[in-house]
């Protein structure tokens, strides 16, 4: 298995408050890893550290064999290869759906407009949003915005995609349409790191589940292992609250 990403003893402190402690794991090509845990356990902070929206205060991030703090990778190139889908979508409000997918390709990857538009239309089609190319974010529903955001990320042809609670800001009816897209991507072999509260997704779609609590990784195992036979009492407690609902 080809390793894409490895975190080594990652730490993050806000002031005197330590949010992440000794986070280490590696991601292979094609892995779909769900990161679960209660709010405040550091899941999102960990994901934001991976593409340096938050700067880690300790440890290393190795991307395709290179330390991303080193000189070999510049930040812009690195982020272009690590896609991110946000809870709040963060589509560019001043552009329509198509332009949201085209503009980053032009500015960051320096693709030709014609090529960029073709790629953008292709991915918008695949997330079922091609009919809304000229709609602005304000004219779309939450689920539609999130699907455009996924198309924007895919248009950059990233090596790995980070999802930061992609369905948490959606009302229940729209969660399904976004999860369907994510399941399809997982099936197509995309490497994905998903912070989520959707236990069904974690159990049925991911190849590995990481359970975080209090800023550390408590368990890192196959989904069957975590859901059927959790090692830690804390994991059992967390899951029982979810699965009893």
């Amino acid at each position: 298995m080809e390793e894409i990403l490895r975190l080594e003893h990652l730490e993050k402190t806000f002031g005197t408050h330590q949010v992440l402690r000794d986070i280490s794991f590696s991601v292979n090509k094609g892995d779909v890893i769900s990161i679960i845990g209660s709010s405040g356990s550091g899941k999102s902070t960990m994901l934001r550290c991976v593409n340096l929206l938050e700067e880690p205060t300790g440890g290393k991030i190795i991307f395709e064999g290179k330390d991303i703090a080193g000189k070999e990778l510049n930040l812009s190139q690195y982020r272009a290869r690590v896609g991110m889908v946000f809870q709040q979508f963060n589509l560019f409000n001043n552009m329509n759906a198509l332009e949201n997918c085209v503009c980053p390709q032009l500015t960051v990857l320096h693709r030709k407009r014609e090529e960029a538009e073709k790629i953008a239309r292709d991915y918008l089609e695949r997330v079922g949003m091609s009919a809304y190319c000229n709609a602005r974010p304000a004219q779309l529903s939450g689920g539609q915005k999130q699907r455009v955001a996924i198309a924007r990320t895919l248009s950059m042809n990233p090596d790995i995609i980070l999802f930061d609670e992609p369905t948490s800001a959606l009302d229940p009816e729209m969660v399904g349409e976004v999860l369907d897209v994510m399941k399809r991507l997982a099936g197509e072999g995309f490497t994905m790191l998903v912070v989520t509260h959707e236990m069904a997704f974690a159990r049925d779609v991911s190849s590995r589940v990481i359970f975080m609590d209090g800023g550390v990784i408590l368990e890192d195992a196959a989904p069957e292992e975590i859901f059927n036979n959790p090692k830690q009492a804390r994991t059992r407690e967390f899951l029982s609250r979810y699965l009893s609902r």
């Binding site: 896609g83 991110m84 001043n94």
Partner: protein, 254 residues
């Protein structure tokens, strides 16, 4: 009735003076507002730029920020009429009595004064754009500069256009203070006409009306521009499950 006859008389007799005054007033207000906006944009972007990791750049950024802060406080905290006198006669004092040409001097004073106000307007505009917009741009690999140009500034422009319009209207009226250094704008021209015909009330009534026509027209035009910039509320959904050629035009209620 005599009053109206005298007012019309002033307009027909001195229209070339009045037109020339209106011309300079609008020229200085327009260019002053535009230049002030550019100053505001530049200072706004500098002041909201993230801290550099390079120690030298970081220190430089701090120094520039301090200079900008002093500039804003001084120019917002003193009357433009006084600024005009200090700059115009200060230049003469430092250059053995040689004075600045009047129109460029007026343009400079209005620009630098407007810039101080615009700096705060633009900074507020940048801060009010959701942080997620920047993070979205960073996450696809845009640099801070690219994110500003492509994503943030276009939204700032749309949000602050009403404030820019407001500054422009204020400038149309406030160029009148430039008469203290002898710039031949509308208020100065009124003084010239008054000294010829001694009809003070009538003359200033005429320019009062002229100022109002200018500001009212400009306000309406800029309101139209705002609507245009807000973009169309209409869009088209192309294709459906049964017919790929189908089009649905969505039109939002006004």
């Amino acid at each position: 009735m005599e009053f109206i006859r005298e007012v019309l008389g002033i307009i027909s007799q001195y229209y070339s003076y009045l037109l020339s005054g209106v011309g300079y007033t609008m020229l200085i207000a327009l260019i002053g507002t535009a230049a002030g906006f550019l100053i505001g944009l530049l200072t706004g972007v500098i002041r909201t730029a993230p801290k550099s990791k390079n120690a030298v750049l970081c220190a430089l950024h701090k120094i520039v920020n301090a200079i900008i802060a002093v500039y804003i406080e001084v120019f917002r905290g003193t009357p433009m009429m006084v600024q005009a006198m200090v700059i115009y006669w200060g230049y003469a004092f430092l250059n053995d009595g040689a004075t600045l040409p009047l129109i460029p001097a007026g343009l400079f004073i209005v620009s630098i004064n407007t810039g101080a106000y615009m700096a705060e307007i633009v900074r507020g505009g940048i801060i009010s754009v959701d942080r997620g917009q920047l993070e979205g741009a960073y996450s696809v690999g845009m640099t801070h500069a690219q994110a500003m140009v492509k994503v943030v500034i276009p939204q700032v422009l749309q949000n602050i256009l009403p404030s820019i319009s407001n500054e422009f209207v204020i400038n149309i009226k406030d160029t009148s203070v430039l008469n203290v250094i002898g710039v031949t704008e509308l208020y100065y021209m009124a003084g010239v006409i008054k000294r010829i015909n001694l009809q003070t009330f009538q003359v200033y009534t005429v320019i009062c009306i002229l100022y109002f026509i200018l500001t009212f027209t400009v306000t309406r035009l800029l309101r139209l521009a705002e609507k245009k910039l807000a973009g169309s509320d209409n869009y088209t959904i192309c294709g459906s499950g049964s017919d790929s050629q189908a089009e649905i035009h969505i039109r939002e209620a006004q």
